[in-house]
């Protein structure tokens, strides 16, 4: 049984992410925002299901496709939108932009633009947790494409060898850019690659937020109990292009239509009565969330730009070197 409060939270977050990303798609078309935008339509259940199993001070890493992770991890919507708009009050003071939405105070170690950069960083955080005998959960999010990169494999090997109870969360969304996953995989199942490291792995339906939550929760306790890393593969579909503006010519319509039948939002709605939410409850959540998203985008619009010279700040902690007495 999941507590009522958590169920409400899950529904709230899953709709927030969808509305947020739909809004991003709209402004991307209107070309009112600078930079690359990678939306995560189709990933909502993975973002929310995993985060539902975490505490706010647990550690995660994300990628350029990070809006859903940031929202689910508790980053302020206003600060996310302001960042995407490049404003001074943005979550990274306008220095990061959409690809790097991160808030350390919410347990985000960072959203990295380099594929497969995250897992090793999370390994380090998990090592710290182990050395300091703290018990925070450490999760790295990455895509199916990242499993070909050496940095992922090196992190996986070390995590196993050092008995680090971190969670690798691979979102298998069918594509790495314009390349289909069923072409780039060498193994039958993506998670088969963990066999090389004798690492535990589980596969879940990434469209079903409650399944994602359940698997993640169990994996976290198993990882901690056995002192071992665990690899989770969640299968879903990338409805968004690689980035906003992608022609998506390589995604056949019949495939999209088929995937729509398992759209995570559709499934969440269908399942709602099972979790004690009636039509009115859902409508109330949806209206609330829509308003919040609208407000955040209105907020960003009114925010000040950074000063040009702000570019010079915070490159180092201490530079030129100051001698402290």
């Amino acid at each position: 049984m999941i507590e009522k409060e958590k169920i409400n939270w899950i529904y709230k977050k899953i709709f927030t992410i969808r509305f947020f990303e739909e809004r991003i798609k709209k402004i991307a078309k209107e070309k009112t925002v600078p930079g690359y935008l990678h939306t995560c339509i189709g990933s909502e259940a993975i973002c929310v299901g995993v985060m539902a199993a975490l505490n706010q001070d647990d550690w995660i890493s994300s990628t350029y496709r990070n809006h859903g992770h940031a929202i689910a991890k508790g980053c302020e919507l206003n600060e996310i939108t302001s960042e995407i708009y490049g404003r001074k009050t943005g979550i990274c003071k306008g220095r990061g932009g959409s690809m790097h939405i991160s808030d350390f105070s919410k347990g985000m170690l960072g959203s990295f633009g380099i594929v497969a950069a995250g897992p090793a960083v999370v390994l380090g955080a998990a090592l710290q947790e182990k050395i300091n005998k703290s018990n925070k959960t450490c999760v790295s999010f990455f895509g199916d494409g990242a499993i070909h990169n050496g940095a992922f494999h090196e992190a996986a090997g070390l995590a196993k060898l050092w008995n680090i109870p971190m969670i690798f969360v691979c979102e298998n969304n069918g594509y790495a850019e314009a390349t289909a996953t069923d072409w780039h995989l060498n193994t039958k199942e993506l998670s088969d690659i963990t066999k090389a490291y004798d690492m535990l792995s589980y596969i879940g339906d990434g469209n079903n937020v409650f399944e994602v939550y359940d698997i993640t929760k169990k994996a976290i306790s198993e990882a901690k109990q056995k002192n071992t890393p665990i690899f989770l593969e969640f299968k879903n579909y990338r409805f968004s292009g690689q980035y906003e503006g992608d022609t998506q010519l390589y995604q056949p319509q019949e495939e999209i239509d088929k995937a729509k039948q398992n759209d995570p939002i559709k499934l969440a709605k269908e399942n709602s009565s099972k979790y004690g939410l009636n039509k009115n409850d859902l409508e109330k959540i949806i209206n609330e969330v829509k308003e919040e998203v609208d407000k955040a985008f209105d907020f960003a619009d009114t925010q000040p730009w950074p000063q040009p010279e702000d570019a010079l700040e915070e490159v180092y902690v201490n530079y030129p070197v100051e001698i402290k007495t």
Partner: protein, 338 residues
């Protein structure tokens, strides 16, 4: 004579090289695109790389020579080295130069050193095509230039064309060249165009180009900075200041003679480079001039570069980061009064 964009000129040079030499192959992520969806119409060659530069090559030359890769740069860069040593002429695409970090070892320790270290018996005729440059609001990990990172390394050649003419001519040479070449394409220049003769001959590596003749001040401009140098020179002409613009085009080897001749003529020099300042092309060229042309100089060389920071995302900060036409004009005026 045809007007071509930089993007199309590069595509032309690739097609021509593929036609001329069956050993030329191309590898990279989504350089075709649509892998795994061949059974559906219209999915093949869906991308041609993120900027569409290589579009059509897969359709023309097939998957044996035009190979989409996984996100495994260290793997396919290393493969390019072995293929080059044994007879192919591989071109690999590093989608953004910012990803250099994940496959730098291949270029720094293998491609660059194989010939020297193994007694001069081998060669590594490969080309890395990569995308550089700020001004795209692409943030800290997709906007660097890193020219000097590669220029620093003995054994690598470094090419960075400004216009479509040079892009085609220099890429033809780079592919024919027997050494590893890093060919840097600026994302803000892809859609700029100029006249490119259909039968353009390869432009030798190591030959710079005087883009504008002038007598008062020499502006040495690195890649996209030629645009701002030209704008500045046009403004300054109105107040009777005559600027000479030197575009070195290739950074290793560097056409030092061409630079020195211009310095001898004007005695006043500005180097404009959108990279970070420390150990940059700007500092290298400035130091060469100070060393070799000291007595010709009427003033210290002025460097206009980005600050010592990563590339920021937000437009006001990124615009501040990139050298500007105004900064060049101000520097020229300062030198003129010397």
């Amino acid at each position: 004579m045809t007007i071509k964009t930089v993007k199309d000129a590069i595509n032309d040079a690739l097609v021509q090289s593929f036609e001329e030499d069956k050993n030329v192959i191309l590898m990279g992520e989504d350089i075709a695109g649509g892998k795994g969806r061949e059974q559906y119409q219209g999915t093949q060659d869906a991308w041609g790389g993120p900027f569409g530069v290589t579009q059509g090559l897969y359709t023309k030359f097939g998957g044996e020579r035009v190979r989409d890769t996984t996100i495994a740069e260290a793997g396919f860069f290393g493969a390019a080295i072995g293929a080059a040593m044994t007879g192919l002429r591989p071109i690999v695409e590093l989608m953004y130069v910012d990803f250099a970090g994940v496959c730098f070892d291949q270029m720094m320790n293998q491609a660059a050193k194989v010939r020297y270290m193994f007694g001069g018996k081998q060669k590594v005729p490969m080309v890395v095509r990569t995308v550089v440059g700020a001004g795209f609001r692409a943030g800290s990990e997709h906007s660097q230039t890193l020219y000097s990172l590669y220029t620093h390394i003995p054994g690598l050649k470094v090419v960075a064309p400004y216009d479509a003419y040079d892009a085609k001519g220099l890429l033809l040479s780079s592919i024919k060249d027997d050494d590893p070449v890093i060919f840097m394409e600026h994302k803000r220049l892809y859609m700029t165009s100029c006249e490119v003769p259909d039968d353009l001959k390869p432009i030798p590596l190591g030959k710079g180009r005087i883009r504008r003749e002038g007598s008062d001040v020499t502006i040495i401009a690195i890649q996209r900075m030629n645009l701002f140098a030209e704008e500045a020179a046009n403004e300054l002409e109105k107040i009777n200041i005559s600027c000479e613009i030197v575009d070195p085009r290739t950074y290793s080897p560097l056409d030092e003679e061409l630079i020195f001749q211009s310095v001898k003529k004007t005695g006043k020099v500005i180097v404009v480079d959108e990279s970070n300042p420390k150990c940059s092309l700007a500092s290298e060229i400035s130091s060469l001039i100070s060393e070799k042309c000291f007595s010709d100089l009427k003033a210290a060389v002025i460097k206009i570069t980005a600050p010592h920071t990563p590339v920021p995302f937000s437009p006001p900060m990124e615009d501040f980061y990139i050298p500007s036409t105004k900064k060049i004009i101000d520097a020229v005026k300062k030198l003129k009064d010397v």
